[in-house]
């Protein structure tokens, strides 16, 4: 019975704060309450007033009312410190589970300078707040680090923009639900196990041979050709040559032409579900690092074989989304 009002509240709350990638703070979405020191300040004022009445101190009245006025104005100043400020964020780069996603938030200020603007995810503790000042007619940037323990496509957490400037007697805050999402890939297994023996059409023996083993140099060195991955460039050699115009050399991994590398769930038998995904992830990364064309089969979907960043991303996203079948 309790859940119904709660649901209704949740629905109202979400309606009030529609997800958006920009956030303009106006009267509607700024909340303000006296802080704990603010309450103590009120108590102090009361005592000052009582003392002034009892000792009949005119200057005491003046002091009390001066502080009252300043406190009252500080409420408006605290509110105005947020009002009119607009925020936007850059979609965060994908991360692996267990890493922290870096959230880049920009604050735009069309009016006078703002001080002591704090930002944190709603579930973070108050001490993890990131602080910034925003200059007049300018903008500033904030980096927020969010722990991402679980893989998947996650909505960004609700953000809380807070300020207590100038006196700390009032806390004003606004709630922002960013619309963009962040990809969290499975954590790659460490250290990376050797790539699996070839599967599918390829001859397993050959695939194993093709996989470079530690200490075994299967690479050749040739001149740079357009389209070569920067990863393949021998930067050390380029640095030794010194001259910018000098020929770049790349490491030519012996491409497994005709022999396809397939990464499949079946090659990771005996592991727990997440560990299997972790291993697949590690393999994808390894194969990508070596610029091997590879394919991924998972849950009835198959990608590739292919190489390159787009393919890598597609594979990792597939892994991030993977559902365990019952």
């Amino acid at each position: 019975m309790l859940s119904k009002p709660r649901q209704r509240f949740q629905a109202w709350w979400s309606l009030r704060h529609p997800p958006s990638d920009t956030h303009l703070m106006v009267q509607r979405n700024i909340y303000i309450l006296p802080s704990r020191p603010g309450l103590f300040f009120c108590a102090t004022l009361l005592v000052l007033l009582l003392a002034s009445i009892n000792e009949q101190l005119s200057l005491g009245y003046l002091l009390t009312f001066l502080l009252t006025g300043a406190g009252f104005v500080s409420m408006h100043v605290t509110h105005a410190n947020l009002r009119g400020l607009s925020l936007d964020l850059r979609a965060p780069a994908p991360v692996f589970a267990g890493e922290e996603a870096g959230l880049q938030i920009r604050l735009h200020n069309p009016a006078a300078a703002r001080y002591g603007i704090g930002l944190r995810a709603a579930e973070q503790r108050a001490e993890q707040r990131a602080w910034t000042d925003v200059p007049a007619q300018g903008h500033s940037q904030l980096q927020l680090r969010l722990a991402m323990p679980r893989r998947g496509l996650h909505a960004l957490p609700t953000l809380r923009i807070e300020t207590r400037f100038p006196f700390g007697l009032f806390g004003a805050w606004s709630v922002w639900r960013p619309a963009c999402q962040v990809w969290v890939y499975p954590a790659p297994e460490q250290p990376c196990p050797p790539l699996p023996a070839g599967s599918g059409a390829a001859d397993p023996q050959r695939a194993v041979q093709l996989a470079p083993l530690p200490g075994q140099d299967l690479d050749e060195v040739r001149g740079y050709r357009r389209g070569d991955s920067p990863r393949q460039i021998l930067w050390k050699k380029a640095a030794q040559a010194g001259d910018g115009d000098a020929q770049l050399w790349v490491r030519d991994t012996r491409s497994p032409r005709g022999h396809e590398l397939w990464l499949e769930l079946g090659q990771t038998q005996g592991l727990a579900w997440e560990a299997r995904l972790s291993r697949l992830c590690a393999w994808v990364l390894r194969a990508d690092a070596q610029a091997l064309p590879y394919g991924l089969r998972l849950g009835g979907q198959s990608l590739g074989p292919d190489a390159g960043p787009a393919h890598r991303q597609a594979c990792l996203e597939l892994l991030a989304r993977a559902q365990e079948r019952a």
Binding site: E55, L66, G69
Partner: protein
């Protein structure tokens, strides 16, 4: 020198502000307290400078215990004003030693506000107010610094924000100060004046070794226009009348003592003659239950006089009694006659208390008095002339013998209980209260009823801003003795020994301080002028700001149109003001919400108008698109409107700045648009 780290700088600033808040208290604090406070603040400063660690909890606890012990040792208690202040200052100093969390900082700030307030118990002068303002400004700036966590904000920035915040709060302050109901003390009685010279409700004979002159203003007098200013020697302000003497201390008669019924029966209003001096009196808070008024007001004993919300009652000794010590500035209208006679005229039992002397005290004085009384020249005088002749003889004695008027007579009664003997025969040093006391004792010893009257005598030679100024240093004690058929007569034995004190109405001044002395030496005229100017400003400040009382509140209401102001009128005014502020706030918020540039406002206006014509104009569309929508909807009838839109677009995006976008042009354009839209509008409505 490399700049201090943020933390150290902020701490040093806060310490400086705290020192400024504590400094004015130094003169009321025990020496050890000032010393420890200075040491602790200094130590904390050094720690901040070196970014060293703060002392541990146990050290602080030990220090706290030590302070508690010292406080108990000095004041013999922990509650009350002096020990409370001592503890407050010490807590504040020790708290700076544990500025760890932000919470600690807030504690320091709030203690600081208290400390500032306690300063007003001792002084509310303009100088105090200015100093306070500076201190509070500093505290607020430090508070702001604590809320600026990024980088190293400049102190000036924080100070500017604090000042701006306070300035914006001024209207609230003024409104509250004007409208907050002024009520009397809620409980208890405001604490008594401490260690100040001036008037007091009792008088200890020879208890003060040296009278520290207090030059602050006690009361101000403004006579009605046309009144001839009385000479200073005629200005006696009647304060507490002291009758009971135990050999050391003079006290006033209790209102209900054994003889009071006789006194009450024979009480009569003073018989007055001569011109009536009407005046307005402003009394500083003397913290006395007696109001010193100019002698002699014509009201009878037992009658009442309204002074603000207080009603004063005239006592049997013709003093004006208030129901409680007066702790606020009091303003009242009264009148006085310099020529008067006060009764009773016939002897009765009510005079008995004025004849009593402490038993077995001052035998030599009593002996001297009876010897004088036995002199043959007094033998055949009748009852109405004898007391006057005796008083003259005593005053002549004071004048002819080597009595010396001094503010530093030393302490009496250290070796013997016969204080008056010691004064009358051995040392002969004293000021007004010694002379008045001795005179009364001698008169009583000769069988003449007599009493000590305290109050003020004289005034500043020059008017200050139209006011006659009487200072605390002009506090005075004189005597009254009773003569059959003539009533009570005033005798001022001080005038016999130091006529200049009475004639000029000027107090004898103790030597001035080093700075004032130096300036007074170099240029006495300039010094005097500066002093007068400062006092004039201070007077204005006290009259206008500090003196604001309940009656002023009601006067304000009267001026605002309430015919019979009372508390509910005050409430109505406050409620109205709050409503006004709320409405203004709402207006401001909607003003803020509307677009700030003229072009956006123009577009908003247009969109509303187009909606009335059944056109769903979107914000992202241009004027040209709106014109097309108009044509599509209303056909050729909309052509003039579409043309107007296009014209507006042309002038908006013309290469040369268009003159058509000014305020006036905009209005003209809008009028034209409305006119052109009228036929379409009626068509649209009928079609609906």
């Amino acid at each position: 020198m490399k700049p201090l780290p943020r933390e150290a700088r902020d701490t040093l600033f806060l310490l400086a502000v705290i020192a400024a808040a504590v400094a004015p208290h130094a003169e009321h604090l025990p020496l050890w307290c000032s010393a420890i406070t200075a040491l602790v603040l200094l130590w904390r400063g050094v720690l901040a400078w070196r970014s060293a660690a703060l002392p541990g909890r146990w050290t602080l606890l030990a220090a706290l215990l030590l302070v508690l012990g010292l406080t108990l040792l000095t004041h013999h208690r922990l509650v009350g004003r002096e020990p409370g202040l001592t503890m407050l200052v010490m807590l504040m100093a020790l708290k700076t030693m544990e500025l760890r969390a932000r919470r600690d900082a807030f504690v320091v700030f709030f203690l600081g506000f208290f400390l500032v307030l306690t300063q007003f118990l001792y002084s509310q002068s303009l100088l105090t107010a200015l100093w306070t303002l500076a201190t509070v400004w500093g505290l607020l700036a430090a508070l702001i610094l604590a809320q600026m966590p990024v980088g190293q904000p400049h102190l000036r920035l924080a100070a500017r924000h604090a000042a701006r915040n306070t300035l914006w709060g001024l209207p609230v302050m003024v409104a509250l100060y004007l409208l907050f109901p002024r009520i009397g003390p809620l409980w208890g009685v405001p604490s008594d004046a401490t260690g100040r010279t001036g008037l007091s409700n009792q008088m200890e004979f020879g208890g003060v070794a040296e009278l520290a002159n207090d030059d602050s203003i006690a009361l101000r007098l403004r006579f009605e226009p046309g009144v001839v200013l009385p000479p200073p020697w005629a200005l006696y302000f009647r304060g507490p009348v002291l009758t009971l003497f135990d050999g050391r201390t003079w006290r006033a008669r209790a209102a209900g003592d054994a003889f009071s019924q006789f006194s009450r029966r024979s009480a009569s209003p003073p018989e007055v003659a001569g011109p009536r001096l009407r005046y307005e009196l402003t009394l500083e808070p003397l913290r006395l239950p007696v109001v010193p008024l100019l002698e002699m007001s014509p009201e009878a004993p037992g009658s009442e006089l309204q002074a603000g919300e207080l009603s004063l009652r005239r006592g049997l000794d013709l003093q004006w009694q208030a129901p409680r010590p007066i702790t606020e500035r009091l303003r009242l209208q009264a009148s006085a006659y310099l020529d008067y006679r006060i009764g009773p005229l016939q002897a009765d039992l009510g005079l008995q208390p004025y004849l009593e002397l402490p038993p077995s005290r001052n035998p030599r004085t009593l002996g001297w008095a009876s010897e004088l009384r036995r002199q043959p020249r007094f033998a055949d005088l009748d009852a109405s002339r004898l007391p006057v002749a005796l008083a003259d003889a005593v005053l002549a004695h004071v004048r002819s013998e080597e009595f010396i008027y001094t503010l530093a007579p030393g302490r009496y009664g250290e070796t013997s209980p016969h204080l008056v003997d010691e004064f009358w025969f051995d040392r002969r040093l004293g000021f007004c209260e010694h002379f008045a006391s001795a005179f009364v004792v001698v008169m009583r010893a000769m069988g003449v009823p007599a009493r000590v009257v305290t109050g003020f005598q004289g005034a500043d030679a020059e008017l200050q801003d139209g006011y006659l100024v009487v200072r605390n240093s002009q506090a005075h004690a004189w005597a009254e003795y009773w003569v059959p058929g003539r009533g009570w007569l005033r005798a001022d034995p001080t005038a016999a020994v130091a006529p200049e004190r009475i004639r000029g109405g000027q107090p004898l001044r103790p030597p001035p301080g080093p700075l004032a002395g130096a300036l007074g030496q170099v240029n006495p005229a300039l010094w005097l002028q500066m002093r007068r100017a400062w006092e004039t400003i201070n007077n204005r400040w006290q009259q206008a700001v500090l003196g604001y009382s309940r009656s002023d509140q009601f006067d304000l209401l009267k001026r605002l149109g309430w015919s019979a102001p009372d508390w509910s009128a005050l409430g109505q005014l406050s409620a109205g003001l709050i409503a006004l502020i709320a409405a203004a706030g709402g207006l401001w918020a909607s003003w803020q919400a509307r677009p700030h540039d003229a072009w956006s406002r123009q577009r908003q206006w247009l969109m509303a108008r187009l909606a009335r014509l059944g056109i769903a104009a979107q914000a992202h569309q241009g004027l040209r698109q709106w014109a097309e929508l108009l044509m599509a909807r209303h056909g050729s009838a909309a052509a003039p409107l579409a043309e107007l839109l296009l014209e507006l677009e042309r002038s908006r995006y013309a290469a040369a700045p268009a003159p058509a976008l000014g305020l006036l042009a905009r209005w003209r354009w809008q009028r034209e648009f409305t006119r052109a839209a009228a036929p379409l509008r009626s068509r649209h409505l009928t079609r609906k």
